[in-house]
């Protein structure tokens, strides 16, 4: 069980992954890489949820992560379709060059 793995280790790993994901989402300019970073942040949250679920010995954490992964799949398909549609209009997915709504 998590008896051998301290919850602190899980939380540190989760925090590191989340911080890396945040850095990627804020600093990168390719829309797809920003999207990848968001997926990474979701996985960091999943890791923390599973850590707590294991520490509490309940099944609820695993259920929550199951739903998160399924919704991530739906979100990824729609998000990538938006990028494809966007690329057809603007020939780029550099977020600095997509500024049609800017006043």
């Amino acid at each position: 069980m998590i008896g051998k793995i301290p919850l602190g280790d899980v939380l540190v790993a989760s925090a590191a992954l989340f911080a890396i994901g945040l850095a990627g989402a804020l600093l990168r300019r390719t829309a797809i890489v920003i999207f990848l970073s968001i997926e990474l942040m979701m996985n960091a949250a999943n890791l923390a949820i599973l850590g707590y679920g294991a520490a509490l010995g309940t099944v609820d954490g695993q259920i929550a992560v199951f739903f998160v992964i399924a919704i991530a799949a739906a979100e990824a398909s729609v998000g990538l379709a938006i990028f494809v549609a966007l690329f057809r209009h603007t020939e780029t997915i550099d977020v600095n060059k997509i500024n049609l709504l800017k006043w």
Partner: protein
């Protein structure tokens, strides 16, 4: 022993996540994230979630990230340009935000570690079995589960509508 394996898997996952952010070639970014997710699956097994580990590999690394790769190759995205950023203030603010958030997380973990009121360890018998996951999904969480199937259908239709060429438009 479990702790050593968990820490090693988590460390490798973190390293490859960093490689994902640092790489200028988006295809290499996706592949680095695939490796990172595989090692996260190892961590999930050690947290007594073998089912989640399996869907992490099959759905996340196998389906979602391959979808990313397909789109990258379909659009033929090259390296991210190294040209001068038109708005450097944005990048400085973004870097500051990341730094602040990291400091916030570090202090939070240093102060609290494992939060009070939670057992840092649970007994071996307390580990949920995969059958318990199935039982919960098909009983207590049946309505969200069915709603999920509708959501996935909506996402499927939405992706088609977004990408399909308009009727009568030239190819």
């Amino acid at each position: 022993m479990e702790r050593v394996v968990f820490d090693a898997a988590a460390a490798i996952a973190v390293v490859f996540a960093a490689l994902m952010v640092l790489n200028r070639n988006p295809v290499k970014s996706v592949l680095a994230l695939v490796v990172s997710f595989f090692f996260l699956a190892v961590a999930y097994v050690l947290l007594f979630a073998p089912f989640i580990a399996a869907i992490q590999v099959i759905v996340y690394a196998g389906a979602i990230l391959v979808l990313f790769l397909f789109v990258l190759m379909l659009l033929n995205i090259r390296q991210e340009g190294v040209e001068k950023d038109p708005r450097p203030i944005q990048r400085i603010l973004a870097g500051a935000a990341v730094l602040l958030f990291t400091i916030f997380l570090v202090t939070l973990l240093a102060r609290h570690g494992a939060p009070p009121g939670l057992p840092a360890t649970a007994s071996e018998t307390g580990a949920p079995h995969i059958a318990d996951v199935a039982r919960a999904v098909y009983s207590d969480f049946l309505l969200p589960f069915e709603a999920l199937s509708v959501l996935l259908l909506a996402a499927l239709v939405g992706a088609f509508v977004l990408v399909a060429k308009e009727r009568g438009a030239k190819a």
